[in-house]
Symmetry: C2
Subunit: 200 residues, 2 copies
Amino acid sequence: MARRNEHSREELREMALAAAETLLDQQGSEALSTRKIASAIGYSAGSLYQVFKNYDDLCWQLNQRTLAMLLVALEQAVASAPDQALQQYGQQYLAFAAQWPQRWSLLFEHRTPLDLETPETLEQAIAQLFGKIEQPLSQLFTDRSAEQISEAARTLWAGVHGIAVLRAHNKLFQVQDGADAMASTLLERYILGWQQEISA
Amino acid sequence: MARRNEHSREELREMALAAAETLLDQQGSEALSTRKIASAIGYSAGSLYQVFKNYDDLCWQLNQRTLAMLLVALEQAVASAPDQALQQYGQQYLAFAAQWPQRWSLLFEHRTPLDLETPETLEQAIAQLFGKIEQPLSQLFTDRSAEQISEAARTLWAGVHGIAVLRAHNKLFQVQDGADAMASTLLERYILGWQQEISA
DNA sequence: ACCTGAACACCGTTCAAGT
DNA sequence: ACCTGAACACCGTTCAAGT
């Protein structure tokens, strides 16, 4: 058998990615494999190479979808006050990591063998994420330079990300999940502290 | 051939872990395997199961050694002033992550299949890490409760950890490595902001 | 008791062969 | 052109067999 042509390339790609997401959610990235994905959609493993360069490429495409979902989730923040907007971003980010733990950890733990080339689209999406945080920050700190705003955005995002990472690995050792409160005080105290600094 | 008995169990364990560390440093966790480790020390893969429960157990033992190294590295902080001590811990942590990127990322990215049982010794070592940060914090904030100090220690460590994670994955998008400065301002502004808060 | 080598059930990836 | 199934070079893990 061959030449079935039941599905277009794009359909095959979509089916494979959807099946991969289900497998990922249910069994984690460790258990994900080309053979399982192919079997889930009724194709042979080899046929995936029509649509993906290799397993690494498949992971990047999964990550791109995850990142798109994350950006949509962050759109849900609707606060008017800039400090409230930052708080909402933080909470949404933690909520997303909790809702999609496997997709979220693949997004940040996946490495290409020698970091050959991180796909540019993915880099751009992450830059977009930073941009979202820079906006309320620049409203709060009108006298700071763009470089300072940019550094603060990276720092705060890294901070909230770190909280999400440690929670995902059960390294917070909290009786009750304190991640939300931690992110909240992190943002609040950082902003307050920065406001106290002598502006350059 | 069998029954060589050239090495004691403990010697075999040590040889395997040392070989694993070399492989890990040179080729990353993805390339690490029982077969390669065994071959590097002149044993068959099966013989490793005398000394390790499974590959997961081997990774945990590697991680335990990494964590011990990290704790030693943090001992090098010698500041007297509590805020300086926190800054030194932050810098030492980032320096360690930069010096041993593969060991450090195995330490935080390795998951046991269903998080069956994170080894208790490892949990204790991480608790020790938190304790180190709580000490200068409680000197700075004498009027805060132990719970508040504990939460702040977790938050700040998570923050610095997040910076290290994003740097390790080249997600900081800085022309020049700004991780040190980011950690420094994170700690400084958090402390300053907390001092401004009305104490409960 | 210790260790091996083959075996088993998996991987990612390639590619001749079939339609 | 599309797809398969076998093949190749890898995995982790087990275990009968050998000393």
